[in-house]
């Protein structure tokens, strides 16, 4: 798949502190790309470099196959982690100003703003000052401003932090819809639930280094440990348990089921498959529950970060 954005071997130092150490990422077109990492890992610095707010010491960024150019700001929409607007400026005027800075004409910006204001039910806000709005309302305005110029690449720094659950959901749905409409989305977060739900690709940055990147499904395949979660019923559970213990590496498991059965996680050897396990279990017990244990992004995140600590 073609990449919309490529960052190659980015280095950035602030004095003696290295914020990014040889970080490269590739973001395929029309995908949602999650940039993960603990606080202070260098995520925001990388986003700022892509936004041309900060210049990298070394390395190059390409958008659509061409080296990033100052005019490309018109193709990028950025919602920074620390959000804010001019407090004493009117909502409409402010949105127009910021949209025009991104290259929209006045009439174009006005028309699109009307559409979004209607969609988000904020029609009455045009002449209100930001300081008269609640925080959640201001965040809606901010989101509209970010997407108004229909950028190819949308960058959200911690998009769900600070949004109340209702607005967070609204934003999530909008992100998914924007992707459907052809936008590519890059967002940084340390909240794993949203990654699980939204991301097609991820990159993990820890202490200025990229530890891991790729397609979420492939990373999960790589990190799975050939472990299965089973719920089984047998006449003599204690002897079955003993047999299993001798044959496999097992551990007690917890999951919800209506059966009062034996719940275990069973780790297979590398050369064994799920069929081998089933073949072993079927003559000995009734199999009520059989699931491969797939690591969550959270597990992968914690595992990778602690490994490299």
């Amino acid at each position: 798949m073609e990449n919309l954005l490529v960052a190659e071997n980015i280095y950035k130092r602030f004095g003696n502190f290295t914020a990014l150490n040889n970080v490269s990422i590739n973001i395929p077109k029309q995908s949602i790309f999650g940039l993960l990492g603990p606080n202070g890992a260098g995520k925001t610095t990388l986003l700022r470099i892509i936004n041309q707010i900060t210049m990298p010491d070394e390395g190059k960024v390409y958008l659509d196959g061409r080296a990033l150019h100052p005019n490309d700001v018109a193709h990028i929409g950025y919602l920074p982690e620390e959000r804010g607007l001019y407090k004493s400026m009117k909502v409409g005027e402010q949105a127009l100003y910021l949209a025009r800075l991104k290259g929209l004409s006045k009439s174009e910006a006005k028309e699109r703003l009307r559409y979004w204001f209607k969609k988000f039910e904020m029609e009455g806000w045009w002449n209100k000052k930001i300081q008269e709005l609640s925080k959640g309302m201001a965040q809606k305005v901010q989101f509209v401003i970010t997407v108004l110029h229909r950028p190819k690449l949308l960058i959200f720094d911690e998009p769900f932090s600070g949004f109340d659950p209702v607005n967070a959901n609204l934003i999530k749905d909008e992100i998914l819809q924007l992707k459907e409409e052809g936008a590519t989305i890059l967002f940084s977060t340390h909240r794993m639930e949203s990654v699980e739900e939204l991301c097609d690709y991820i990159a993990l940055i820890h202490r200025s280094n990229k530890l891991l990147d790729g397609k979420v499904s492939e990373i999960k395949k790589e990190y799975k440990s050939n472990t299965y979660e089973v719920g089984i019923d047998a006449d003599d559970e204690t002897s079955l348990h003993r047999d299993l213990e001798n044959r496999f590496a097992i551990a007690p498991a917890k999951f919800k089921s209506i059966q009062d059965d034996l719940k275990l996680t069973i780790k297979l050897k590398d050369n064994e498959t799920s069929n081998d396990l089933l073949r072993y279990l079927m003559p000995r017990a009734r199999v009520n529950h059989f699931v491969e244990v797939i690591p969550s992004v959270n597990d992968i995140f914690i595992k990778t970060v602690t490994q490299n600590a």
Binding site: G15, R48, P70, Y78, P80, E82, G84, Y86, Y97, L101
Partner: protein, 431 residues
């Protein structure tokens, strides 16, 4: 360029729509004119009030020397006793009582006391001293057998007529006028720099604390934002200045026609007191005021205002970017205020003393003080090449300072938390 225009536009509107700005713009000329009227009224009040001063002269040598004048009347109490004199002055609420003792045998001088509820003004005291010492001097000269009339004849009054080499005459007063105009221009410039520099700084801090800065710099270069901010604010300054000039002129004309004063005849009390013989000098004064090179004064004011304003507001912007809140700016304000104050001091002491002396000349070339000092010197006539050097250095410094400020600004606007030290600011230049 399109974005720069958008930014200038926004910054200009943000300043001009500000309530304080509107109030200041329209109220200041009113306050200014009101003050002038108040001062004129008060001084009129003051001068119509007649002071009554009693004199108790033990030797009765001096009492005849105190002549009643428009503002003061003297009452002779020498025939009565001191206690009586005191009582009467107190009861009638007169301004005070001058007590002159007998002449001292050894020194030949009397002791003089002034008794009063309020302490007398400087002028009053000086007048008393002069009257007594003049009389005493004359008496002593006569006692030594010197003919007073000969001395009076020998006294010469010299009036220096000032002419420049092109033969234009000017009065002594004209130097005061030049001082006044130069001083006013320099002072106004300093006020403008401080007020508008602060506006720029506050606006930078506002964007930083509002956190909108990151959104804006994702659309435009920080330098563009800095430039747009400084330019937009300067336009607001020019707007305010223009409104002041127009409103001030209209108000002054309105008030003077209302009070029935012909501006050409408006004179200071001092000059009003001068009798007909001095009339040519007053005419000369009016001519001098008319003759001041207003066009060049105004254009140099605009040039130095812009040069000085850009220089200082770039520094103000860098300071705004370096800190998180206005309270943190204090430690950085000193280096800004210092040269401004220095410029004013050099202007009011050195330039007034010697407009073309070494100190004045040097400070009118150093870019941080040149706008103020040079403006004060210009009414006295400065060679064109000195102005050219001063302006060129000012412009060159502007570029240098803008470059440094832009670097600090670029890093500072994205830095939050700890208040930076000068050392850290220096490091930012290399980021």
């Amino acid at each position: 360029m399109r974005n720069l225009r958008l930014i200038i536009n926004r910054e200009y509107l943000a300043r001009v729509r500000n309530k304080t700005f509107i109030i200041m713009t329209f109220l200041s000329p009113l306050i200014f004119v009101g003050m002038i009227i108040l001062i004129a009224y008060l001084s009129m009040l003051n001068s119509t009030e007649q002071k009554i001063i009693g004199i108790y002269d033990e030797s009765e040598i001096f009492v005849a020397e105190f002549k009643d004048a428009e503002q003061v009347q003297y009452l002779d109490y020498s025939k009565k006793s001191l206690a009586e004199a005191r009582k009467e002055v107190l009861e009638n609420e007169y301004f005070g009582l001058i007590h002159i003792s007998e002449l001292d045998k050894e020194t030949g001088k009397p002791e003089v006391e002034f008794l009063g509820k309020d302490s007398p003004g400087f002028g009053t005291v000086e007048n008393i001293e002069k009257t007594i010492s003049d009389k005493l001097t004359r008496d002593q000269l006569i006692a030594k057998g010197i003919d007073i009339s000969e001395i009076d004849k020998a006294k010469a009054s010299i009036d220096v007529e000032i002419q420049n080499f092109s033969g234009e005459q000017s009065s002594k007063m004209s130097n005061y006028i030049k001082m006044f105009f130069g001083g006013a221009a320099g002072y106004l410039l300093m006020m403008f720099i401080i007020i508008y520099g602060n506006m720029v700084m506050r606006s930078v801090i506002e964007e930083k604390t509002n956190r909108i800065i990151e959104i804006i710099v994702s659309s435009v270069k920080p330098f563009q934002l800095l430039l747009g901010k400084v330019l937009g604010t300067s336009l607001a300054g020019i707007t305010q200045f223009t409104v002041w000039i127009i409103l001030g002129t209209v108000l002054l004309l309105g008030v003077s026609s209302f009070l029935g004063i012909d501006p050409a005849q408006a004179q200071t009390p001092a000059s009003a007191a001068i009798n007909g013989a001095a009339q040519p000098e007053i005419n000369q004064l009016v001519i001098d005021i008319m003759k001041l090179p207003y066009a060049s004064l105004l254009s140099f004011f605009v040039i130095y205002f812009l040069g000085g304003y850009f220089l200082y507001s770039a520094i103000y912007a860098a300071i705004g970017a370096a800190v998180d809140s206005e309270t943190d700016t204090q430690q950085f304000m000193f280096p800004i205020i210092l040269p401004l104050i220095l410029g004013i001091y050099v202007g009011f002491f050195s330039v007034v003393e010697n407009p073309h002396g070494t100190v004045s000349t040097i400070f009118s070339i150093i870019p941080l003080t040149s706008p103020i000092v040079m403006l004060m010197r210009i009414p006295f006539g400065v060679p064109w090449w000195e102005i050219a050097i001063s302006i060129s250095i000012l412009i060159a410094t502007n570029f240098g300072v803008l470059w440094i400020s832009a670097k600090i600004y670029r890093v500072g606007i994205l830095m939050y938390g700890k208040k930076p030290t000068y050392k850290e600011l220096f490091k930012w230049l290399k980021y």
